[in-house]
Structure formats: structure tokens, C-alpha cells
Symmetry: none
DNA sequence: TGGGTCATTGCATGATTATTCACATTGTGA
DNA sequence: TCACAATGTGAATAATCATGCAATGACCCA
């Protein structure tokens, strides 16, 4: 039986305690626990244990690495094409309508909105992934949001 | 305004997509998006964004690594952490909430907001040090601003 | 406009981590 | 028990990441 299970158990303790900022430091900590091992082995251990490296040191993962991606629906043509391609959420917010897109896509959708000639669109402000659309009133906002959802094939 | 907010947005997109296993690969990916930057700057960006390195590549943090449970969702714990560290002002503006951070920290706080699952958050626009949060209405804005102030331990 | 201060960024290099190669140890089946 | 396969480990080195320093840009003020 190798030292590995015992060593990895000790590694987990140290990582949980927030004590580990580098593999060489970990090696020294283990040394002081009577475990003599090289950095190469520790690199392997940390990988095997799924430990992640943050700016402030090593951490245990709390969950799997499925990075929550913003789902985007399929696209169509013109405004419908871009909004269908890049927008995933259309909500009323008072007299505004808020469209969410994937990062970096708000501008192109906003251009499509500006060119669409939709009467309820008074103006748009777009950042990276969010577009604020000004409408004349609350009812107009609801009307526009409903229309955009249909174009984008998004459910409310 | 420097390239940094835009670049960091794009970095977040790529990391979320699970596309990034090394900083040099990230540099190439950004190059193909027309963003020319060195590995040194990317190291700084990734640190600023709180991105962690796992065996299979870079990930957004799911939590702050503390194992204590406070009854908040993981996303809200993370939000509390980043907003507590980086935000210094939370104000309502009609149906919007405006969060001010230290320079360069808006993006990471916006990540926290997006991941928090707070229902009143319809969308966010983040620049370098300012975040605009869209909410469904004036009351929702007040409610959210109040909640964020509490998380950030900021007085009105 | 010019000067001062601070932030951002690239270059170069140091620090850290991952991997290859060689060897040792352990496990397994005949 | 023996032969071979599988696994573990260290040393050396390659790959990757972090940081000091200097240059430049942004911003502010007189």
C-alpha cells in the first residue's frame, strides 16, 4: 500500500483549512507532517483530487465545472434573425423593455431594433449583453415585449 | 475608456463557454475577436475577474471556497462576497439600480449579480466601475437596492 | 496648454505547475 | 513463485502563470 491515500487525505485537510497557496508550500506543510514527497507528485495529487487554483490559493470545488452558459435561441432573418440569434430574454420593466443577449451581442441586436422601424421603439441603450428599450408607455412596453418574444421565439 | 471592460466581458464569455485551458490559448481566442493583448495582461484580468484554474481549464468560481452554509444560495454567497469587497454605492434610479464599485471591479460584481438568481435582476450592464441593473418596476428596484445594500453592508 | 498623478499595458524574467522519462513498487494471473 | 502489467514517484525539463519595471495613456488642474 502506498502513501497516496494518506497523503491525499492530508492534502484535503490542508486545502480545506485554506492553508495552501502554492505546491511548494504544500510540500513543506506535508514535510512537517512527516510526509516526504516532491512537487511533481503534488501536482498529480491536486489534479486527481480536483482541487482548483484561485488567486488566493487552492480550493476545493463546490460543484462541477459546468459553466452556466446563457442559452440562446436559434436565429432567423433581419431583426428576427439577430434577435432570434442573440437574445434570450425579453421582459417589460415599466416603460422599458429589457432584452438580454449573450455577452457581446447587445449592440448588433440594438442596431436591428433601431432599423426595424417599430413604432414603440423610442430609443435603445445597449451594453454588452443587455439592451434597454425606451417605449412611450407601459402598454407600449407590453406590446413590444410580446412582439419581440414572438420574433425571437422566446417564451415569457 | 480603456479596452479592459470590453476585453473582460469577452473573457467571461469564453470562460463560461468552457473554451479556455491556458492563458496563451485565451490570448489566441481574443486575437480572433480582434482584441490584441499579452499573456501578462490576461493573467491580471483573470485574477481581477476571480476566475479559477481547474485541471480541465479555467472556470468561473461557484463559491468562495468557504464550506460554511449561511442559508443563502451559493450564487448569493458569492454575490455577497464580491459586492462586499468591491461595491461602495447602491442607488435606485427609477426602475434601475446603479451599483458603483472601485475601478475595474464592475465586471466581477456583475458576474455575481448574474449568477445570484435574484428574481428582480432582469439584466445588467457593467462598465469599469458602474453597473446598471434593470428591474421589473420601481418597487422591485427599491427592494433590490435594499437587499444589495444589506449584502454589501452599505448604508443608504 | 503644460505638468503632475495615477492606471494600464508590454517586455522580460522569476515563480509555479505540468509532464516526460526512467525507475521502483505493487498487483495479478498462471 | 515468477513473469509481466499496472501504478506510483522523483528528477529534470517544458509549459504556464505572476510580477517588477518602464513606457504610455488618461485624467485633472492651474
Amino acid at each position: 500500500m502506498t502513501q497516496r491515500p494518506r497523503r491525499q487525505s492530508r492534502i484535503l485537510e490542508l486545502v480545506r483549512a485554506g492553508s495552501v497557496s502554492s505546491q511548494d508550500q504544500l510540500r513543506e506543510l506535508l514535510e512537517s507532517h512527516g510526509l516526504h514527497v516532491t512537487q511533481a507528485t503534488l501536482s498529480r495529487d491536486l489534479r486527481a483530487l480536483g482541487v482548483v487554483k484561485a488567486a488566493d490559493g487552492y480550493r476545493l470545488p463546490e460543484s462541477n465545472g459546468s459553466n452556466g452558459s446563457t442559452g440562446m435561441s436559434d436565429g432567423q432573418e433581419e431583426l428576427a434573425r439577430v434577435i432570434g440569434m442573440y437574445a434570450f430574454s425579453v421582459r417589460e420593466a415599466g416603460t422599458m423593455v429589457v432584452v438580454r443577449t449573450g455577452p457581446g451581442h447587445a449592440q448588433i441586436v440594438a442596431v436591428g431594433l433601431d432599423r426595424s422601424g417599430l413604432g414603440d421603439v423610442l430609443g435603445t441603450i445597449a451594453g454588452d449583453d443587455t439592451i434597454f428599450i425606451a417605449t412611450p408607455g407601459v402598454e407600449a412596453a407590453e406590446r413590444l415585449a410580446s412582439a419581440l418574444r414572438e420574433l425571437a421565439e422566446i417564451e415569457a
